[in-house]
């Protein structure tokens, strides 16, 4: 869980950097740049290897999570009548499975919307490139009847990511045994910062796209 989780954190950074082009480069220039980037990300061999590693990590993280949860359920077949979990552990740490499930549902829908369209879908062309830029803009557009739903769903999913990361990052380091009186507070603080910053930046993008297309 720790290794794949921390690897997926790195993936988030890369994914975010790519997505932020949607905000920082607008108009015709942005369309060209984003489509070139999308073309590069789906064809360059090294990126391909990384993407397979990412798929494998997601799959392992999910399957391992399910296996461990089943073992944990078996470890306590009879539960408590009264259990005050809030007294000793943060909400996110106690609900990683639920948060992860929300993220997985989002991931399936998200990949269907963009990844599937890019790879196998019926996609418009622009200057000889698959026009993923237009697909994204239309997806989060007020003209799209489900545009607002898409934006709200995306933002809610990012909140789940934020809570998941708020426990996950420091937990990953702890599982790997990386703990030190001097450095653990830094890891915990950075983990919280990461959990706040990355999903917030992700969530800003569809909001920006929706508002600028009003």
């Amino acid at each position: 869980m720790a290794l794949t989780g921390l690897f997926l954190c790195l993936f988030l950074v890369g994914h975010l950097a790519g997505n932020l082009q949607l905000i920082f480069i607008t108009g015709e220039e942005g369309q060209q740049a984003f489509n070139e980037y999308a073309q590069f990300m789906t064809t360059f061999p090294l990126v391909k290897i990384l993407s397979y590693l990412t798929y494998a990590s997601v799959l392992f993280h999910v399957v391992d999570g399910i296996v461990l949860t089943m073992q944990n359920r078996k470890a306590r077949p009879v539960g408590y009548v009264k259990e005050n979990g809030a007294a000793n552990a943060k909400w996110a740490s106690r609900n990683m499975g639920i948060l992860g499930t929300i993220i997985l549902v989002f991931l399936v829908s998200h990949m269907q919307s963009f990844w599937y369209t890019m790879h196998f879908g019926d996609i418009p062309m622009h200057n000889g490139l698959k026009d993923l830029h237009t697909v994204v803009l239309q997806f989060f557009s007020p003209e799209n009847s489900l545009g607002l739903v898409a934006v709200v769903g995306y933002v809610l999913a990012q909140m789940a990511v934020a809570f998941h990361l708020s426990h996950g990052v420091q937990s990953g380091f702890q599982s790997l045994g990386v703990r030190h009186a001097k450095y653990t507070p830094i890891i915990e603080l950075s983990g919280m910062g990461f959990a706040l910053l990355v999903p917030t930046l992700f969530a800003i993008i569809p909001i920006f796209l929706y508002i600028t297309q009003l």
């Binding site: 944990n72 470890a75 539960g79 408590y80 259990e83 007294a87 420091q170 045994g177 990386v178 703990r179």
Partner: protein
């Protein structure tokens, strides 16, 4: 104080068990929780009933026998205390208190609130010791230099009384805090080095065999631990286990 106690009653390991309600009156705020339980049992015996079975021994917080899940928390609402060190002044007149046994498949209920914690003993037997030649020429422990910080950490780990509150509290019924304390108290000292790698492997293996759950680092164990065993012990055990497994020949 007048209280309403909701207590788990279970006739034996095979019984399904159920919660039963016992009103107790005239409880002194100065009583310990176990004294209050004695009072309740006295009432039950006088009315011809079967008293509630619960584990207890030293009643001064060092033996690790008392084991009650009180109002949803191991050893009750206070921090750094066992059930015997919990006093009725921590509750209010008219309170309803829910009392349950530790819940884990590795801690089967023997009767009522008493559970079988021999799984902890088997984890210790699997490697929680150092092999010392007792021919009479054993080196005096105080003659071996140990850095102060390390000695303190080893001592802190060794204060674990093996009560099982960590397992009871953990949402996964994981025994990582207990096992890591028992691994660390040797891993931090020179005497523990020769068996360091095999010890951690054997103890973790036995822990898994006993059916304890997995650690998801919620940290609840360390909060509820009556002895304040630190999460750094779990990280140390993870580290030792990873390196022992990686370097195993």
């Amino acid at each position: 104080m007048d209280l309403t106690l909701k207590v788990w009653r279970q006739n034996g390991p095979q019984d399904a068990g159920r919660m039963e309600t016992y009103p107790v009156s005239d409880v002194s705020p100065d009583m310990s929780f176990l004294e209050m339980m004695d009072m309740m049992n006295d009432q039950i015996i006088r009315s011809g009933g079967d008293p509630v079975a619960f584990d207890h021994d030293c009643r001064e917080g060092i033996c690790g026998m008392c084991s009650m899940f009180i109002n949803g928390e191991a050893h009750g609402p206070n921090r750094g205390t066992t059930t015997c060190q919990l006093h009725m002044r921590s509750f209010k007149d008219g309170d309803t208190i829910t009392i349950e046994p530790w819940r884990a498949s590795a801690f089967p209920v023997v009767k009522d609130l008493a559970v079988d914690r021999s799984s902890f003993d088997r984890v210790i037997q699997s490697g929680g010791y150092i092999s010392v030649n007792t021919s009479g020429e054993t080196l005096d422990a105080n003659a071996i230099p140990v850095p102060k910080g390390q000695a303190d950490d080893a001592f802190s780990a060794a204060t674990c009384i093996g009560c099982g509150a960590c397992v009871a509290t953990c949402k996964n019924a994981s025994a990582m805090l207990f096992v890591s304390a028992k691994v660390s108290q040797f891993a931090l000292l020179p005497q523990g080095q020769p068996e360091r790698a095999t010890r951690v492997q054997r103890m973790v293996e036995q822990m898994d065999k006993e059916g304890f759950g997995n650690c998801t680092n919620t940290g609840a164990c360390a909060v509820e631990c009556p002895k304040g065993i630190d999460l750094s012990n779990i990280a140390r055990m993870n580290r030792d286990y990873l390196s022992a497994s990686a370097l195993e020949e």
